[in-house]
């Protein structure tokens, strides 16, 4: 356990100092805040409650921020091989499982910091207009249920996917998947949009907002994964995303061992 925390700590410290992480998060947050259109959270009525306001902002950020996180994390495990550090890491007494788990936890924590900060800064901006101190705890709650599960899901695939596909191919497929699986209307093509498996956080955001946020529960392909939005469905969505993030991490150790020995 001590080794896991040590790996987690160094991974966090390496990532949190990456300029590209901060630049991409800030750029994407500003871009989506400016381009949100008149249906965005900026135009919610003045008497809207804090959970609705911050739930809407969290969903808005969740549309683009994970793209940057996926791109940042796509080379984390591959990079160890490119720099020749993989053999050195393999010689340490830390088991590959603890190494992967530590890198994963450290990566998620480091990418979560700018995302949480973006939401808190937004809450401060909304506080100026609305004067409701509940905006700040709502921002943290919205981050925890909307952004964080999606981030944990994206991080698992972004760390391990490039070991199989290579980083460039993963990045192309990831951008395409993000649009198809999260934002493309399910009435246009069979897609995962609007199901419990969307890492964009549609179900948790719908629960916070009190109405369908985007496509959650819209009739379409895989109808058994499209229950009516609500608290139970939101919880189920978060649990399913956490479960789906596990298999890539389990396969990461043998994949890393194979690459290191070859």
């Amino acid at each position: 356990m001590r080794r896991f925390f040590a790996v987690c700590r160094y991974e966090f410290r390496m990532q949190i100092r990456k300029r590209s992480l901060w630049l991409s998060t800030a750029g994407l947050a500003v871009l989506i805040a400016v381009a949100q259109g008149d249906r965005g959270p900026r135009y919610l009525p003045a008497d809207a409650d804090a959970a609705r306001v911050m739930g809407s902002w969290a969903l808005l950020f969740s549309m683009l921020l994970p793209i940057g996180f996926g791109m940042v994390l796509a080379d984390r495990l591959v990079r160890d091989h490119r720099l020749g550090a993989a053999s050195l890491l393999a010689s340490l007494p830390t088991r590959p499982g603890a190494l992967v788990a530590g890198k994963y936890a450290g990566s998620v924590a480091a990418t979560a910091v700018p995302a949480l900060l973006a939401l808190l800064v937004t809450a401060a901006g909304e506080f100026v207009h609305r004067g409701d101190p509940a905006l700040f705890p709502s921002a943290v709650a919205a981050f925890a249920v909307v952004l964080l599960p999606g981030l944990a899901f994206v991080a698992a695939f972004a760390l391990v996917g490039p070991l199989v596909l290579s980083a460039p191919l993963f990045r192309v497929l990831f951008a395409g998947y993000w649009f198809w699986g999260n934002l493309l209307g399910p009435n246009y093509l069979p897609s995962l949009t609007g199901t419990l498996l969307t890492p964009i956080g549609d179900y948790p955001a719908s629960w916070l907002i009190g109405e369908r946020a985007l496509y959650a529960g819209t009739p379409g392909w895989l109808s058994f994964l499209r229950p009516e939005p609500g608290g139970g469905a939101a919880l189920l969505s978060v649990v399913l995303l956490a479960v789906l993030a596990t298999p890539p991490l389990v396969f990461a150790s043998p994949l890393l061992a194979r690459r290191t020995s070859s």
Binding site: K18, R19, S20, L21, L23, S24, G27, L28, L31, A35, G37, M63, L64, I67, G68, M71, V72, D75, R82, L83, L165, S166, A167, P168, L169, R171, V172, L173, F174, A175, G176, W178, F179, W180, L183, Y188, L189, P190, W221
Partner: protein, 227 residues
């Protein structure tokens, strides 16, 4: 020819495989759509998106990799051949694969009656050539300017995603319409289509020219991990 084969190997198999992989994904999505009762015009529009949207995305991401990930950059900089020529050949391989596949895919769509683009062969080529040039040019410029794979790939992915997300608003805006990458698959060969294709191609040429000017000092591409 051996030089081009060598450059293809240096560009790397992922960069060369990205365009065919994107077309395979298009075919898989179209097959799934057809199997689940998606109307034929929507399936044809999706197939057109394969060459107009996915191949340019794949080529642009591959271009970032070619520029940013070179393990022998210091060695290249000591050679009498200009580094921009070397990069140009590698980018040519990536763009050439994307172009050749787009021509073949478009021809196959025509033969099977699934082509939803313009009729003339020249205009058909502009369906994929203009966004390919525009997006790959942008990728090259950001990669040279920022020297960061993350920054360049995020920029490409976000431009691509935002154009998909805000397609209706971008098509409706008089100033944004000429810069919209997916006009054929989203609005057909409508008013201003020729201008849109010309502007995208011109932007691509402009971005590539600026990147080439910056590459007159190729040592600027060296990163902390290389110095």
């Amino acid at each position: 020819m051996s030089l081009w084969r060598y450059e293809a190997r240096r560009a790397g198999w992922p960069a060369c495989l990205a365009p065919p992989a994107s077309l395979l994904v298009t075919l898989a999505l179209a097959a799934a759509g057809a199997a689940f009762g998606t109307p034929r015009p929507s399936v044809h529009s999706l197939l057109l998106s394969g060459v107009e949207a996915l191949v340019p995305l794949a080529a642009a991401t591959a271009a970032v990799t070619v520029v940013s990930v070179d393990r022998c950059r210091e060695l290249q900089l000591t050679l009498p051949t200009g580094y921009s020529w070397t990069l140009g050949r590698r980018l040519g391989v990536v763009a050439g694969i994307g172009a050749a596949l787009s021509v073949l895919f478009s021809a196959a769509l025509r033969l099977t009656g699934s082509w939803a683009g313009p009729d003339s062969p020249l205009a058909s080529a502009l369906v994929w050539a203009s966004p390919l040039l525009g997006l790959t040019g942008l990728a090259l410029l950001v990669a040279v300017l920022g020297r960061s794979v993350v920054l360049a790939t995020t920029t490409v992915a976000v431009v691509w995603l935002c154009q998909q997300l805000f397609a209706s608003a971008l098509i409706a805006g008089a100033w944004s319409r000429p810069f919209f990458l997916f006009l054929t698959s989203r609005a057909g060969v409508a008013d201003g289509w020729g201008t849109n294709r010309a502007v995208l191609a011109a932007c691509g040429v402009l971005f590539i020219t600026i990147a080439l000017l910056l590459l007159r000092r190729p040592e600027r591409l060296l990163t902390e991990e290389e110095i």
